[in-house]
Symmetry: C2
Subunit: 197 residues, 2 copies
């Protein structure tokens, strides 16, 4: 009642959407990923920092290199997923602030002065917000996401990225296959999460 979002959209994005562990063979195209990005890029971040970076692992050779860094239980499904994305945080996001936050000229210098630790903290928070927008976007494309964090991220960083980019989630993407998910796990009751002062 209190929501204005169409119930079908509520189902697509939250109520019926589930973390998938199996996928069909149907490919996920670059056009689909572009449409997802063109939607979720508008999700808000602090000072429009927009630190999320996405590495699509498409080649069989790259997929094999990635799978080695996953926990055993995640390897088979990731090897078979139509598309896998490594989500990382750009710790040098402030380089883009003259473009992203043009009305505050001092933004880039501010984060230069704040130092790398402060930038890593900002990048981690805001890239995580954007990772959630990305998962919502995958669902908006009628696809299922299978985000994973039980991963050797140091190994993945060394294999695919550089010191400035910190990977923090790997996401399988595709149409859900047979027995794609476990029964839904319980959620916390409202009163266990929300308090009023």
């Amino acid at each position: 009642m209190s929501l204005v979002l169409d119930p079908a959209a509520q189902d697509l994005l939250f109520r019926e959407a589930r973390t998938a562990n199996t996928f069909t063979d149907e490919p996920v195209t670059d056009e689909q990923v572009q449409a997802i990005y063109d939607l979720v890029k508008y999700g808000p971040t602090s000072m429009n920092q927009s630190p999320l970076r996405v590495t699509l692992v498409r080649s069989p050779e790259a997929r094999e290199r990635l799978v080695r860094h996953l926990s055993e239980g995640n390897q088979k499904k990731t090897a078979a997923a139509p598309l896998v994305a490594i989500l990382s945080a750009d710790n040098e996001f402030h380089e883009e602030l003259p473009q992203l936050f043009p009305h505050f000229e001092g933004a880039k210098a501010m984060f230069e002065g704040a130092g790398r630790d402060a930038r890593e903290k900002n990048a981690a928070l805001n890239a995580a917000l954007q990772a959630a927008y990305f998962i919502i976007g995958v669902r908006a494309a009628g696809l299922a996401a299978g985000p994973m964090t039980g991963v050797d991220f140091a190994g993945i960083q060394k294999e695919f990225l550089d010191d400035d980019h910190t990977p923090f989630v790997v996401v399988n993407i595709g149409k859900p296959g047979p027995d794609a998910w476990f029964p839904r796990s319980p959620r916390l009751a409202y009163d266990d999460v929300v308090t009023t002062v």
Copy 2:
């Protein structure tokens, strides 16, 4: 074309939704917050950790205590917003895992053994994912969110929370008022964000 989400829902959640800096006087009810939570609680987190906690700042006395910890540019709008929520991460989320992740009996003990630092890292990432879901949920309720991170979080933690709960975003919530937002800032081009290997 590539998205199956209804265009009106795309607009409501991402394309036309904006970070609001002014609000009307229309109250935000507990029923609305409950409807938001009952939608976004389904957003995925690692092992269903669900570490996000929400403190609704409703009383004038509490609002005044909160506003003191904000940067000067954020004080007036936060004092006047219909509702303000402090979002925090529960670093002892593992206590709830027997309820939240019942099919893996060792989950709670695993995070006990991993130690507080590991739990803080997990809580920070997953609460940030849930903060993004929450912002989307506010928009799904036809409301505008005004998330803020330029905040004295240590002061807010001391004032409103305890050592186990780390605040990381404060969100103003309400119907957007006059001149509620600045022109939309640019976003990064697809090719600056997404690479393929």
